[in-house]
């Protein structure tokens, strides 16, 4: 029944664009919201056996989807982040037609992401990555202001480069595999290990994913795209799109397809560490709220890749968990930036101050997100970072562990700078009248904050049942 995750949004798009009179944007909003929330809830509460059932139309329409725990974590994150973006979009986009377009594109992105996390074919992977990417291009350029266009164009160029690299790699793998399914490719890579072309193919694919995921030094497009995109789109992009397109695929391929190759591990750890450091340092001196968050994304993605590169089950579990956490807390941060942007009309944090007293919910939730990002207990981010660091230590990568954990101090530094400049400090005269941004921003913010804290507090249960059974963790 996994195909429902693709077909329902698809049918929704078609239905929403039928020439019917009335508030189609409200319908679109409700549909998208319920779909994304439903996705999250269904994944969270329904055990996997329902999804293992074959589609009843499987006879003539076979999509060949597949789901494991990693997929479910991703589906959950996608559901949460998309619903968040949907809510924020309702609040920040005022024009009716624009709203409708926005929801259509969000549905397309949803299809793209859901497809990406469920498929088992390396070429379909490309197709759905492109679905996600193209909808993202349009979403970034949604308001057609110059910065957004610039961001979108850079994204297109770099994304195209990534695509070319990945396709070249697919072509090269095709030489050995005889098919494009994960199983075939995996078998081909295993049986031809050491072959020059295979190594090149794997490297190129990983490079392409690095570009998609925005890891240093492949990250050039990311700050521009994130900071120029409309508020709701930034949430989507930072929260989930690049994570699915870059990081999920990386995890999937490295874990399931390419297998544990020590060179890949080393490269991943190197790039991950590099991203952690550069992202955090770059964020330190920014004045733009969203740009700080963008660089922060780079840095946090570095943690995920570092955990992945560690290669041990614990490391991969940590990476997945951090991926989930990152999508939550980064969405929350972007929600708050959206609230601030909406109310002040700017993302320049030097011009703000003292908003905490006027926007108490944003203030409080932002704090929670900051702590989660910096890895301060009892927020969720702490546990995932802890698992990653434990994994690194376990494998003997002491230096990486030390760097990873020390950079969280820098992380805290730049995030505290946001909090200090935006929410604390003295309220400027021209911002005296400011209010909370609106119900559809507050609700997702509070929900996400609750998720962060809930995940943090329930971590022991969660880790045992959901991510991986490491019973001796607390002993």
């Amino acid at each position: 029944m996994l195909s429902l995750f693709l077909l329902l949004p698809f049918l929704g798009i078609i239905a929403l664009n039928l020439p019917v009179k009335g508030r189609r944007d409200a319908a679109a909003f409700l549909y998208t919201l319920s779909l994304s929330i439903g996705q999250a809830i269904v994944v969270l509460f329904n055990p996997g056996d329902f999804w293992a059932k074959p589609d009843f139309w499987g006879g003539f329409f076979n999509l060949g989807l597949y789901a494991d725990n990693l997929t479910f974590v991703m589906l959950l994150s996608i559901g949460i982040v998309v619903s968040t973006a949907v809510c924020v979009g309702w609040q920040t986009i005022s024009d009716h037609r624009q709203r409708l377009n926005f929801y259509n594109l969000v549905l397309i992105a949803l299809i793209g992401m859901n497809g990406t996390v469920m498929l088992t074919d390396i070429f379909s992977l490309y197709v759905f990555l492109e679905v996600t990417a193209i909808s993202s291009f349009i979403l970034i350029a949604f308001h057609r202001d110059l910065n957004a266009l610039e961001g979108a164009f850079k994204y297109i160029v770099l994304s195209a480069l990534a695509t070319v690299l990945m396709l070249t790699s697919i072509a090269a793998l095709l030489l050995f595999s005889g098919g494009t399914s994960f199983a075939a490719v995996s078998a081909a890579v295993k049986s031809n290990s050491g072959n020059v072309i295979v190594i090149i193919a794997v490297s190129l694919f990983i490079c392409g994913l690095f570009i998609k995921g925005g890891l240093v030094p492949f990250h050039g497009w990311l700050p521009a795209a994130y900071s120029a995109a409309p508020a709701a789109v930034s949430i989507l992009l930072a929260g989930i799109v690049t994570k699915v397109a870059g990081i999920y695929v990386l995890i999937r391929l490295v874990r399931d397809v390419f297998g544990p190759i020590s060179e890949i591990s080393s490269v991943l750890m190197l790039v991950g560490t590099f991203s952690i450091i550069v992202g955090a340092l770059a964020a330190l001196k920014q004045d733009n709220f969203k740009k700080i968050l963008a660089y922060s994304s780079i840095s946090q993605v570095g943690y995920i890749v570092l955990g992945l590169g560690c290669g041990s089950p614990l490391g991969i579990a940590g990476a997945i968990f951090h991926l989930f956490n990152h999508s939550i807390f980064k969405s929350l941060l972007f929600v708050n930036s959206a609230a601030v942007e909406k109310q002040t009309g700017s993302t320049d944090i030097t011009k703000m101050g003292g908003l905490g007293s006027r926007m108490p919910y944003s203030n409080a939730t932002n704090l929670i997100a900051i702590f989660s990002t910096s890895g301060i207990p009892p927020m969720a981010g702490f546990w995932s970072k802890l698992v990653i660091i434990m994994a690194l230590w376990q494998m003997g990568h002491f230096t990486y562990a030390a760097i990873a954990i020390l950079v969280s101090v820098i992380t805290l530094a730049y995030l505290l700078a946001i909090q200090r400049k935006v929410f604390f400090g003295i309220l400027p005269q021209e911002l005296k009248h400011i209010k909370e941004a609106g119900i559809w921003i507050v609700i997702p913010a509070v929900t996400l904050a609750i998720i962060i804290i809930g995940t943090g507090l329930c971590f022991p249960l969660l880790f045992k049942s959901f991510l991986m059974p490491v019973s001796s963790f607390f002993k």
């Binding site: 007293s357 890895g375 660091i389 562990a401 954990i405 805290l412 200090r420 002993k475």
Partner: protein, 473 residues
């Protein structure tokens, strides 16, 4: 009631209760204040309730899912000290904080801080210890940055970052211990051998939290906080957290470490005591001086703990108690002075004893306790830690600390002289509000009582000693 449940309640009542306070504010301000005090007192009373059990030489261990709580004499002692002091400080804030905005946040953070402190004190697992450790960091960050001026928030951030730096190092240390021994559980870690790198890492955390050289300068800068906060943070609880964790890990759990640490840590402590004493001598900001003094005194506590023999440990624990009361009193007095004169610069103050006699006398008495003059409690603790050093044959260290003690006397008298004696340089000021002066007088009286009734805490700690395998006998 079940002892284990009591243990859980001690931690949970303030921790969870703190989040109820902003809600209570909707009912009435008085209710909120009252409940804040009540939550703290509940912990205090409950701790007293399990005191007899521990007094009879037993320990209590409680397991709730992964949360392991463990109560031995050391923990009970620390819990009693911090809860009683917190109660006084919360009481004092009724008077002090009532003039300012963000009171909800204040009470939430104070009570949450206290709850986290209780959690940390009773934590039986390294990870949960770290968890509560960081909650205290968060709350203290908010408390330091209570006033929203840029400078204040910046200082708060600095404090947060420096302690965070230390704590992540400590976390690395914990992880390395985990892989050394395969467990985070303190009971299972008893008496395990700890590599030097882990000691360094853990020490970084402890030093940063306890504001010891070279990670100490956040503490004087944190003096921008409202006074009860600084009292709470600096004197009573926050800086003691690091010391307590040191005791918890290296003495109560009895990590076996390289013997050279018993020389190295006293050297660090001595340097810290001296450097900060020198700084206290030259500072002109009242709260900064007291903060530096705190840094200096923490050195003494570390001396006792790191020497690690019986008298040293007992002395250090007594030091925590006595210094908590006395330094808390000093900060609260400084708070009264600051609030009534609107300045913290001691050069602009003078002659306040005429109009603020209670404050002045309390300040003086608390100073005596900090200096270590009998019959105040500070005398015994100071004597015991210094003797601990000589007892181990490290006479030269006690000489360094002698210099520190001398400087303590000099700078505290200097402060008293400048602030309370001499010509009045400010507008005529009134004595603080009754709630506030009762608090400071109470702390001064407690400092005195601590000395006169020294038998009881000392006796209790000697019972506790049996539970501490890490003592060097």
């Amino acid at each position: 009631m079940d002892n284990q449940l009591i243990l859980l309640l001690i931690v949970l009542v303030p921790t969870v209760g703190s989040f109820v306070l902003p809600v209570l504010n909707c009912v009435s301000v008085k209710a909120r204040n009252l409940f804040a005090l009540l939550f703290v007192l509940t912990s205090f009373v409950l701790t007293l309730a399990i005191l007899p059990v521990v007094f009879s030489g037993q320990t209590i261990t409680a397991n709730f899912y992964s949360l392991t709580l463990h109560a031995d004499g050391l923990a009970i002692f620390m819990a009693l000290v911090s809860s009683s002091l917190s109660a006084i400080i919360v009481f004092y804030s009724f008077g002090y904080i009532s003039h300012y905005e963000n009171q909800n946040e204040y009470y939430l953070m104070v009570v949450l801080f206290f709850g986290a402190m209780m959690g940390l004190v009773f934590a039986g697992n390294l990870i949960f210890l770290y968890l509560f450790w960081e909650i205290t960091a968060i709350t203290s960050w908010r408390l330091i940055g209570f006033f929203r001026e840029k400078q204040h928030v910046l200082r708060a951030d600095k404090a947060f970052l420096v302690t965070m730096f230390g704590s992540v190092m400590m976390l690395l240390g914990f992880v390395s211990i985990y892989y050394q021994n395969g467990t985070y559980d303190l009971a299972a870690l008893k008496g395990s051998q700890i590599p030097n790198i882990a000691v360094i890492l853990i020490l970084a955390g402890i030093l940063s939290k306890s504001a010891t050289l070279p990670l100490h300068t956040w503490l004087p800068d944190a003096g921008v906080a409202p006074s009860p906060v600084t009292a709470l943070l600096h004197a009573a609880l926050l800086v003691k957290i690091g010391v307590y964790v040191f005791a918890r890990l290296f003495i109560a759990t009895g990590f076996v470490i390289d013997p050279s640490w018993h020389t190295i840590i006293p050297i660090i402590a001595a340097t810290s005591a001296l450097v900060s004493a020198g700084a206290a001598m030259l500072e002109t900001d009242l709260k900064r001086i007291i903060a530096y003094s705190t840094v200096s005194q923490i050195g003494f506590i570390f001396l006792g703990l790191s020497i690690g023999n019986e008298i040293g440990v007992v002395g250090a624990m007594l030091y925590i108690l006595m210094h908590g009361m006395a330094k808390g009193g000093l900060f609260l007095c400084a708070g009264i002075v600051e609030q009534n004169t609107k300045t913290k610069n001691i050069m602009q103050l003078g002659g306040l004893i005429k109009t603020m006699p209670v404050t002045a006398v309390s300040f003086l008495l608390c100073s005596f306790s900090v200096m270590g003059i009998p019959p105040f409690g500070g005398f015994f603790s100071k004597y015991m830690v210094m003797t601990a050093a000589t007892q181990k044959g490290q006479v030269w260290i006690s000489f360094v600390f002698l210099a520190g003690a001398i400087m303590t006397i000099v700078y505290l008298l200097r402060v008293f002289n400048l602030v309370f004696m001499g010509q009045s340089k400010t507008q005529p000021v009134k004595e603080g509000s009754p709630v506030m002066i009762i608090s400071v007088a109470l702390l001064a009286a407690l400092s005195l009582a601590g000395g006169i009734l020294i038998y009881y805490p000392s006796h209790f700690l000697q019972i506790t000693l049996l539970q501490l395998p890490g003592i060097i006998r």
